[in-house]
Each structure stands twice: as structure tokens, then as C-alpha cells.
Subunit: 401 residues, 2 copies
């Protein structure tokens, strides 16, 4: 069996944890498996490096930032190889260039194009544990690149796909994927299984155990993932295409407080005005989420939408800038004291009553719903931020996990 | 003009010094020159990394040590590029793989085989300052290697040779090469020029501003070096093939306290006994220096030699182990309280009186000479360690620098 195991920065933050990870990998190795390990930079090392860069040049070229950041994973893989050697097991560390891990040429946010198999295969054939730097790649100019947020997960999934691994295990500091954030909902339960699509919806709503890009890639290449803790041996959560029939109606409740609601009131009701509004926002890299359009009075309409909190000011400025031109309106309002609460579950595709059940639970808990958006496997409501925890608990209780 | 400038770890130890180096490079760049900068790891970073490795595995594989250590220079070149960008000058950092810097496959002590010119040439043509990692290379298996002690100097000289640079400047924390260690000899003077061979002899005797390998390479490829301070703009010392005619008789006085004298007394005088002694020592990696063989009594002879202090015990144990076999002798003595004092100068090749003049100066200063060794351009005496400074000053005064 070929197993790809990915460990995040906290799992290799110090000597003790490095040996802990080494031992877990050696366990599989000694059962006769081929083991490929993907590591992030140790602890907060990436932040330390970013601080160093920022101190020297707050506008450092991204290409040089990647040159700096890639030293982080190179350090952790080298130390891990030393730890395994200390435990008497042959191993070798490889960085993005040695693998080689080809990406696009976008420093700071590159996409993986192709991973060479030869070197890894060769080392596995020598019965070595192969330790690979996560998060990093090289572009066609031989420059280092990094894969952006959650990059090491993506590296692990891509390696598992390329090597046709039998398992891809993502180790984190939680036991797996929960039905809700256990810090908010006391009764939250760990899920044994979840589908790629559910995981994607959950990840988008702040329950970010796995980053979307890695899940999307896993779905695309059919790589079955296991999310589990590096600190204990509890069975984790399996992420795969389909889960067992007797599955619960919904898989989880998620919340996201990093959201602001922008209301553009009294827009002149001309053809294409909505298109113009969102075109202007897109031009300023403002990602728009839940959109609500309502007819106003006197041939006007109101459009409200949500953005992440840090983009709220940019969104408002963008609208204001065009108020005298293509976006004539009466008012632009922003409300940062809102949050999103979502239920996610493949089961709701065939159960039309799920949304109503959620709304009823919120009504009973006296939570006012400002806006609603849905996908095939998700229902999201926008509510007052201060109602978040109350809403989470009410909804979680309603669906009886 | 194409200038290669090499800065050691202390010259890039912190933000202020990094900007200092950046400014010095930019000065040349703004005169229209092509500038290639070679950097070591920041400050004591290499030692920090070695400590980390040692903590995890005191017998870490050298291959993994090199994987770890090469992050040091990659960090300093990336930060330097950021600093130059902050100062508005285009620059790019390149590591051993990006250059590419091909070496033998000996981890920890690799030799440079060939440096590719294409990438550096390309970046220089874009009018960028090119910042290259010193000390490191890649072997034919795509593994990182390091060049051993003084490796960054070697990188700089090799780059200068490969690129046919017009100048190769080695920046250190001293003003240049001195006639003697200024901490010992108050009147020590900075040399304007020195030959490769003199530099080699001085480097062997503790006046190690430049490492031998870099000087040997400079001599082989005719790369003229300048050794100068990164902290001021004083003209440094030029190292080249021949120096001006009116040159001083000798260039410098050097001392080395890291030496022990081993005396093997009353060796059975059989054919090949000296050969056997040094064969055994070589088998235990003991490097032997000044050798003195004298006829003893009763068909025996005495052989004494010097080694570095840390090898003294190994040397004595080696001899003891064979005393009952091939190395029958009466006694083995070790004396660690000795030191070497040398005069070095190309001029002495044509001035046979130089050695005598040195001995006379030592006699006048009441310094007892235990052993003597000479090369074409060097005379070395072994003396009591406590006489070192007295001897240095007496000899330095005698030759009237």
C-alpha cells in the first residue's frame, strides 16, 4: 500500500512533535507500506519569515517572498529525515525542485501543473520514507513558487493522485470534521464520513479543516481523504464521493462571522444596472456572495449583497465612486454586524423540507433572518452577528445529530 | 565592467547591515557596472541550523545536513533582493539550483565542477543585480551540497572565473591582509598587495582572511582578488600572481597556537619504520605537519611531528596501539604547549639569508627553537606557546615592515 501523510506546521513545531510524526510514519513503514510524507513549515516559521521580509521591504516582490518562504518547508523536511534516521529508518527529504513539482508562474498563488514521479518512485523502491516539502513548487523559469493558503494539503492530494496512492491522510490538530464547531455547539459530533461536496460547502463557511483547493482536487482525481489528529490515534473523518446510505440528512452546521452586508438603496431601474454594479465590484477584486434584489419604489430597486468584512470599505467606495455616473442611487449602507449560518448535507437534495425545518428552528429561537441563499446541498441564512451562537445551537439541536 | 562582490555572514547579520551591503552594491551598479553578489548565511545562522540538527540527530546524514544548511544562504539572498528593491534597484536572488552550480556528490565537502552562465547572464542583461547563494551547490542527483569551510569565497572566485569578471572583491570584517595579527603585533601593517602563494602560506598559518581553496582556485584561473572591509571604504589588499618589484622581502608573520608536538622516542631502527608510523596515522585521518627525525642510541631513532591539538590524542593512541607490534619504541610524549611562528614572502626565494635573520631575531629575544620547517616562500619555527607573542613581535620588528 502507498500512503501519503500530510502534517501541518503545529504537528512539527518542535523536536518532540517531529519525533511523534516520525514514529507515526515509521509505524506504517514497518507494516510494509510505502510512505510519502508531506510537511508544512515548522510552527509559526512562515509568519516569522514574513515578518523578516516585511521589516526589510513591506512591498517585497512576490518572487523573492517565495524564495524566502520555501526555506521553511525545506527546514522541516530535512529535520524530519534526520529524526527518522535517528530512529534507524532510511528516509530522504525532497523539495519542490528535487521532486520536481511544476506549477504556473504566479508567485504567491501558483497552481500545480504536474508532479514528476521518477525521483519519489526511485526512493520508495530503495525502501526509504520520502519526505516532501508541501506548499511549494517551481515554475518553468526554475523560480520557486508557493501555492497559497492550504497549499500543503493541495501538495498532498496532488501527490496521492500522481502516485495513485491507496490513502491520503491529512493530519491536523482536530480529530476530524465535526457537525459544528465544538467551541460553539457543545453537542457537536465528529463525522465518520462526508462527501467532497459537503466538505467544500463546509470549508467555504469557516469550518476550514481542509482548504477548498485540496478538496476540489481530491474530488477531481477521486482521491479518498482522511482527516485525523496528529496528537491521538482516533479514527478521523473520511472525505469521499459518496457516503453510506443510512446517512444523516445534513452533515453539519457552520457559521462565518467574517461577513458584511452592503445595501444599495434606490438604484435607478435601468436595464443592466445590476450587471454594472457587479462589474465595477469585480474590477476592484471584490468577491460578492449572497445577493438580494428587491423592487423599490418610484422605478427604483434595492440590491443588497454580502462581502468579507475586509472588503466592505472597498465595496462601498466603489459604489460611491459611480453614484454620479452609471450607478445613480439614493443611499449605500454597510452593516458589519452580521454573520452567516449554514446547514450542509447531500441528503437535502431529496428532502425539500430541510430549509423550512431550519427556518422554523430559528424562528423558535427568536433569530431574525435577513437574507437567504441556497445551493443544492446547502442553506445559508444571514443573521445578526450576536445571534450566531444561539442560531448554531438551535439548528444543530433541530437536526438531531 | 563585471564585478563579483562576496560578503560574509557578519556583513548581512541584520537589517542595517543588509541595507549597508545593498547600498555598496548599488553604488557600483549605478556607475554602469554589472554586479554579481555572493552571500553567506546571516550571522551565526549556519551554527543555529547545525544546533537544531544536532539536537535531533547528532549523527545526521550529511545529505540532510546540506539540505538544512542551504536554507541559510537562500534566506540571506532573498532578503537582500528585497532590500535592493526597497532601494529602487532591480535585483534577483538565485540559489545553487537556479544558477545552476554543479558540484561533486560529496555532501558537506563538495567541489565545484561547473557553473552555468545562462541564467546569470540573462538577468545581468535585464540590468538586474544578481544575488547568488555562496557555499552551496547541487550534485548530479539534484541533491544540495555544501562546499565546506570558506565555501562562499570559493563560490565567488568560481563565479568570477566563469563569468570572466573584471574584479572579484571579498568583503570581510577586517581591512585586508596584514603583515601580522594586529591583536598581537602593534606595528602590523596592511599589505597593498600579496601573491597567491604568499596568501596560501599565510592562510595555512592562521592568518585566515581567505580560505586556501578559494586562493588556489583564484591562482589557477588568474582571478585577481581584493580583500577589503564591508564596514569602511579603505582600499583593501590585492591578491594576484606577481606583485610590484620593490616589494618587501617578506609579506607577513603568522602564528598558530593550535598545534601539538608528538615525540616517538627510541623507535627500533628497522627499514620502513617511519613509513609505517605515518601510514598508521594517515589511516586514522591524522594530518601530520612538521616532521623531525633524529638518530637515537642503540640502533634506535626518535621521530617527532606536529598535529593540530584536537588530533593529538588520536595520534598518541594510534602509536600506543602499535607499540607491541610494528612500532616498537621506548616512549611516546605529547606537548600541547607549543606554537608555530612563520614568515612568508616570495622575496625570500632569492634571498638565502632570510631564515638566518629570523633565527637571529629569535635568539636575541631569548626564544628557543624546537623544530624548523621551510617551503620556498616560508620559514616556520616551533616554539613554546608562551613565547608566541614575544617571537611574533621580535620577528616583525626585525623585518622592518
Amino acid at each position: 500500500m502507498l500512503i501519503v501523510k500530510k502534517f501541518g506546521g503545529t504537528s512539527v513545531a518542535d523536536k518532540e512533535r517531529i519525533f511523534n510524526v516520525a514514529n507515526r510514519c515509521i509505524e506504517d513503514y514497518k507494516k510494509g507500506h510505502d510512505v510519502v510524507v508531506v510537511l508544512s513549515a515548522m510552527g509559526k516559521q512562515t509568519d516569522v519569515l514574513l515578518d523578516m521580509a516585511n521589516d526589510i521591504n513591506p512591498n517585497a516582490p512576490k518572487r523573492e517572498l517565495d524564495m524566502l518562504l520555501t526555506t521553511g518547508e525545506q527546514t522541516s523536511v530535512a529535520l524530519m529525515a534526520m529524526a527518522m534516521h535517528a530512529l534507524g529508518v532510511p528516509s530522504i527529504s525532497l523539495n519542490a525542485f528535487q521532486v520536481a513539482m511544476h506549477t504556473t508562474s504566479v508567485a504567491g498563488n501558483a497552481k500545480l501543473i504536474k508532479i514528476d514521479k521518477d525521483r519519489i518512485r526511485h526512493e520508495l523502491e530503495q525502501r526509504k520514507i520520502v519526505i516532501v516539502t508541501g506548499f511549494q513548487g517551481i515554475c518553468k523559469y526554475d523560480d520557486y513558487t508557493t501555492l497559497g493558503r492550504g497549499g500543503s494539503d493541495t501538495t498532498a492530494v496532488a501527490l496521492a493522485a500522481t502516485l495513485h496512492a491507496d490513502a491520503c491522510e491529512i493530519y491536523t490538530d482536530v480529530d476530524g470534521v465535526y457537525t459544528a464547531d465544538p467551541r460553539i455547539v457543545e453537542d457537536a459530533k465528529k463525522l465518520d464520513q462526508i462527501t467532497y461536496d459537503e466538505m467544500l460547502e463546509l470549508a467555504s463557511f469557516g469550518a476550514g479543516v481542509l482548504h477548498n483547493r485540496s478538496v476540489e482536487m481530491a474530488k477531481k482525481y477521486g482521491v479518498q481523504l482522511v482527516v485525523r489528529s496528529s496528537l491521538n490515534t482516533t479514527e478521523g473523518t473520511i472525505v469521499k464521493e459518496e457516503v453510506k446510505m443510512e446517512k444523516m440528512l445534513i452533515s453539519g452546521v457552520a457559521s462565518d462571522k467574517n461577513v458584511a452586508r452592503i445595501a444599495v438603496v434606490g438604484l435607478e431601474d435601468q436595464p443592466g444596472v445590476a450587471f454594472k454594479l457587479f462589474r465595477h465590484l469585480a474590477n476592484h477584486n471584490v468577491n460578492v456572495d449572497m445577493i438580494l434584489q428587491s423592487i423599490g419604489r418610484d422605478n427604483t430597486k434595492d440590491i443588497s449583497f454580502t462581502v468579507t468584512e475586509d472588503m466592505a470599505d472597498v465595496a462601498v467606495e466603489t459604489v460611491e465612486r459611480h453614484r454620479s455616473g452609471s450607478l445613480k442611487c439614493q443611499d449605500v449602507k454597510v452593516n458589519k454586524n452580521v454573520s452567516k449560518v449554514s446547514i450542509v448535507g447531500a441528503g437535502m437534495q431529496t428532502n425539500p423540507g430541510v430549509a423550512a425545518q431550519m427556518f422554523e428552528a430559528l424562528y423558535d429561537a427568536n433569530v431574525n433572518i435577513q437574507q437567504i441563499s441556497t445551493s443544492e446541498i446547502r442553506v445559508t441564512v444571514l443573521i445578526d452577528e450576536e445571534d450566531t451562537n444561539k442560531a448554531m445551537n438551535a439548528v444543530h439541536k433541530e437536526f438531531d445529530f
